[in-house]
Amino acid sequence: MTFYHLGNCLFLAYGPYFLTYKYFELSEYGAFWKCVQVGGMYLLTQLCKMLLLATFFPADLPSPAGISLLTEIFKSTMDFGDLFAISLVLRKISASGPIKVLIAGLGWSTADMVLTRVLPLWVGARGLQFDWKYIIMSLEANVVMVHHLAVTALVYLWSRTDSSSPHRPLLALLAVCSVYCPLLPAIYTAVLAGSAPTAFNMLLASSVPSLLLSAASLTLLVQQCPS
């Protein structure tokens, strides 16, 4: 594989971000700088989460049996911090509802992608060895974008509804789901213990719940904010 392959992967990973940004003409809202600010917030949140994790869940030595599910659940629980941070971000951005959600979600997921995927792609996809995992990683970036947009929409809806709204429990349920659905691949692996799932199966396992979640939150968004 070559530099060309790296280009392919980056094209696949970033194309949808770029298209979304362009198509909704976010630049007209001066969204670029806001997106960067959201990215900074993302960075700060992750640092805080890491500090908390390191303090209260001291790194357990890697057990030979693999990652323990309980530790993973603890770690996922920390992701409620993300929801809190997103709600803060949403409060700071001054724009109409859906645009707000787009800016926050896009900024958040772009920061996620830059911080977690660019380096592995840069190091790995340029190598001589061909491996499907870099294509999968790029596809995952797309799924992650959808997931973060859905989560942002949920947080936005939560802040708009009052405690008496009939949608409140549903929103809470979806929020909890959104936090714990990254656990599904781990559970999938645990269930399939022995026969390692192929990389594409793992991608499916992580994308299907994200996609269902986003479909649900979008429906709710449409109901709440009919244009």
């Binding site: 594989m1 070559t2 060309y4 392959h5 392919n8 094209f11 696949l12 194309g15 949808p16 298209l19 979304t20 198509y23 909704f24 509802g97 859906p98 959600v101 787009l102 190598g127 001589l128 060895q129 061909f130 491996d131 499907w132 995992k133 294509i135 596809l139 797309n142 799924v143 974008m145 959808v146 947009l149 859905a150 929409a153 192929t198 990389a199 594409f200 991608l203 499916l204 994308s207 996609l211 269902l212 986003s214 479909a215 649900a216 979008l218 429906t219 968004l221 449409v222 109901q223 904010c225 009919p226 244009s227």
Partner: protein, 561 residues
Amino acid sequence: MLWLSEDVVEFLRGGALLMAFLVVLSPLQARATSEFNVHRLQQFQLHSNSFGSLGSLVNVEAGTLSDGPMLRQCILAKLVDVTPEVYRLVSSQGAAAMVIILPSNMTALSAPVKMLVRQLEEAMLSTEVPMAVYLAQETPELAAIYQSVKDKTSSGASSAAANFLSSLASDGYQMVVSGAQSKPMLDVAVANVQGQLNGFGAEEKLPSIAIVAHYDAFGAAPELSFGADSNGSGVAALLEIARLLSRLYKSPHTHPHANLFFLLPGGGFLNYQGTKRFLDDMEGGDTNILGEGRPTFVLCLDALAATNSLQLHVSRPPKNGTLMHAFYQRLLEAGQELGVEVGLVHRKIDLADARQPWQHHLYSIKKLSAATLSALTSGDGDERGSITDTLSALNTTRLVLHTSVLHTALLRTIYNGAAGAVHHMLHDLPPALNVNSNSLSYWLSLLTSQARSTQLLQPAKSHPLVRALHEALLRFTVDVKLSVFKPDKRDPDFGFHDNTGGVMVAYSIKPASFDLLLSLIIAGYLGVVYLLLQQMPLIQNLVIQSSSIRVSNGKVKSKYH
């Protein structure tokens, strides 16, 4: 407002389609990079001729022996498939590299196959090829790579389109050996180790017998040259005899009236460079036990366990009354008693020979009475210096027997005409003075615990093996000397290149056409995403309709679930 929902829905669909496509297209085994050890073919110069493999760096695609083109490929081939003709063909087709896969168990090869392997080695070592040639032990990983490449090249696709499709479906491999191109080794040296046992009486007048066995080994790949029979067997026999006789020399009752001289020269496979140097030094005035004016006999040992019989190779038939004649008679006797057939092979010295077949020829040229004892019947064969010559392939029982014959014959020659207790002892050796198979096995395992090709025995003076030999002779003999020499700088008799082996990495790769196809698919995917974004208003309406249905009628489920 509803752009967002549309966007997400589109992503879902596009992503699912793309994934389905990729799942169908690809064999989804994420194979890791595989690495394996490879041993490079010898690259050496002898008498200003170069032999072996010139190349050492590899960075080309893998291929197999096939009718197709081999240009700029790394040809993988199993040892049994490679004949000298195939080897020449691969080289002449312009292959960039060749990896010969050795079976994991070399000793299990049948005798005819071993003979073919030796012929191949002979062919590889007598020519010079520009490609890089490596030998590798078969591992499951390497076998899988070989099979995959073989399937790919032999798929026999009839049309260009079919070829293209099969190249997309199967993995290719890029074979890489990195590092520096092999360069001449500047400080190759050869060490000779010598020691002696002085007889009782006036040393200068006593008859002297020299026992010589070169300790180096040779083979297609330096790192695989363990040389158990050639010449591990000769060195082991020499050390065992030195050990046994040293006890007799220490006791005043059995102190023989003969000198014994032991020489372990290096460079035996380089046309006996060590011996040559030793003889040159001797002529140069080094006082030596083989000096003129007394009966002398030089006995070289080489490949003592190759066959069931022993041959004394001479360049002149032994004359009656000489030490060599006496030894030959004793050897015949001992052979008869122990049930080993002993023969005499006479071959005249051909000074025009670029390489002397036997070591004793060099002594004979210097007018010394010399012979080589070997189990081989001819010095021209390719039995000596092969990668098939390993300890597990050696018949140790046979070596013990042959060493016993040699030992008995030597004792009788040394104690020629002795009477009394000694005479009695000769015919009924106490067990402690007999050849001990444990001791022989110990020497053999010491020698074969490492590859002994000359360029690996560097630095010659402090190499563990040379030191071990030196210490062994120090223990058993006196006047032990370790001398090291280097080839002449301006007109070297021999030379080596470094890079005797390393790690080869096989990267699984896809052809460039695959990358192009991938680009097209990704572009298509992004195009679909763009189209969906453009169709937003339509989908927006759909969502509103469905949600209004849901609002008006709680029992209707959203179509998104």
